[in-house]
Amino acid sequence: MGGYGDVKLLRDDGLRLDGRKVDEMREVQVEAGILPAADGSAWVKHGLNVAVCAVYGPMEAHPRKIQRQDRAVIDVRYNMAPFSTSDRIRPGFNRRSREISKVTAEALESVVLVERYPRSKIRVEIEILAAEAGTRCVGITAAAVALADAGIPMRDMIVGVASGKIEDTVVLDLDKAEDNYGQADLPMGILPTTGEIAFLQMDGDLSVEEYNTCMEYNMKAAKEIHVLMIDALKRRYAEKNGGES
C-alpha cells in the first residue's frame, strides 16, 4: 500500500474514478471447462484481470516424500504470464508467486475433501494472463470452478474477493490505481454457503470499524460471484449432456 495522499481516487460526487459506487464490484465473467487438455478448467475475467486455471488429478503423488498417508496434497502454482503486466515479467517463480501459491493451496485444502484421496496429488495451475489488481482473488475463484469442473468433491465453493480503503473510505474490489495509491487491501477466500473464511491476507491500515465494513462488502460480493460460478458450471454440464441442464 503506497498510501500517497495526493492522488485523488474519489470524485466529488462520491463515486470512484471508474464510476463505481463504493460497494460496487467490477464486472465478473466465469466460464468452466475451457481447456481440453485438463481434467477440469476455468476462465475468469474480473474487471480487466484474466485468470485461467487447469486442474489435473487426483494422480499419483511423486516424489514420494510429498505423499500424505491420510489425504491428497494440493499442488498449486500461481503464475503471471510475462505479458500480463505493463512491464514484462521475467518468466519463472519469484517470492511473491511462491507465497501466493502456498496460501492458495492451503485455502483449497480447506474446502476439497482431501481425505478421500490418500497418497495422491491434485495439481492446480493458475495462470494470470492479464493483471489489473486482485489477481490472487481471481485465481482462487478460477481454481474453485476448475476443481468442481474436474469432479473433485468439495465441502463448499471458495470465492476470492477483496475490499480496501482509499481516501479514508472503505471500498469493495480495488482496481489498479486504488491498489497502488490506496491505504489498505483485504483479500479473502470465502466459503459462500457457510460464510467461513479459508484465505486471508491484508496490508495497509484499517480501524476495527473499517475492517468490519470490508468484511461486510466481501461477504456480499462473494455471494454475487458464487451465483456466476454456479451458472458457469451448470452451462458446462448442459453442454456435456447435449443441451439439457
Binding site: A37, L48, P82, F83, R88, R123
Partner: protein
Amino acid sequence: MVELVPSLLRQELAALADKDQRIDGRGRWESRDIKLETNCLYNAEGSAKVTWGDTIIYAGVKFEIRTPWPDRPAEGSLMCGAELRPVAGRKYEPGPPSPQSIELGRVVDRGIRESGCIDMDSLCIIPGEKVLGVMIDIHVLSDKGNIFDACALGAIAALRTAIVPAERFDIGEDYPLAVSMTPTMCSFTRVGGRYVLDANEEEELGGDERIHITLGDEGHLHSLQKGLKGTFTPAEFDEILGVAQQRCAELANLVNSKEE
C-alpha cells in the same frame, strides 16, 4: 512423467496409414479447424489467442527500452520465447525451461527473425544508446498436438497487431509496429510410416520424427527443423514442401485478414 507409448496405438496408426486413413478421420494433408483472435490481452501491446483443434495458446508482445549490443549499435532486438508450463498438460512438470520448450521458442523465433519481417534498424531510437527490444512470449495452455504451428501463428499474429507504446517511453506518439511480411509454419509428423500435416496428440504419441517448415511471402524458406528420432528422404521432403507452400499461404491469409 513417463509417457507410455502403447504399441497398440502404433499398430493402429500403421494399419490406418495402410488404408490412407487417419485416427480422427482427416485426410493426410488436412488440418484441424483454426480459430484466431487478436488483441485479446489487456496489458500486452499486441496479442493473439489460437485455438487449433483442442490445442490452445496465447501470444503476447511487450516492448522495452534497452542499450544496443556493442557490435550493432543502431539495431533493436527481437526475442521470442515459449513456455510449456504444467498448465498445458498432464505430461508437463514444473521446473526450469525444458529442452522441448527451448526448441519450440527458438524454432518460432528463427522463422520470424530470418524472414526479415521486422526491420531491426527501425527499432533504433538513439544509436549506441537507446533501442527498442521486442519480446514475444508464447504461453501454451492446452497441448493437444502440433503446438509448433499454433505458436508460430500466434506469434506473428500478435506481432502484426502490436502497438509500440512510445508515449509511455517518452519517445513520441504510439505507433503500430512495422511488420513487412507474414511468415507461417507448417509441421509434418511421420505417423504409421508416412508424413501427415498437423498431427494431433495421439499421432504425436504414436508417431516418429517431425519436420517444421516456416515459409514467408512468395514461399521462401526461412526456418527448417527436424525433431525426434528418424530419417527422411529428399523425395519425401519435396512432397511435404509442396503441401507447405499451399498451406502456409492460407495461414498467412488468415493472419492478414485480422488486420484492418
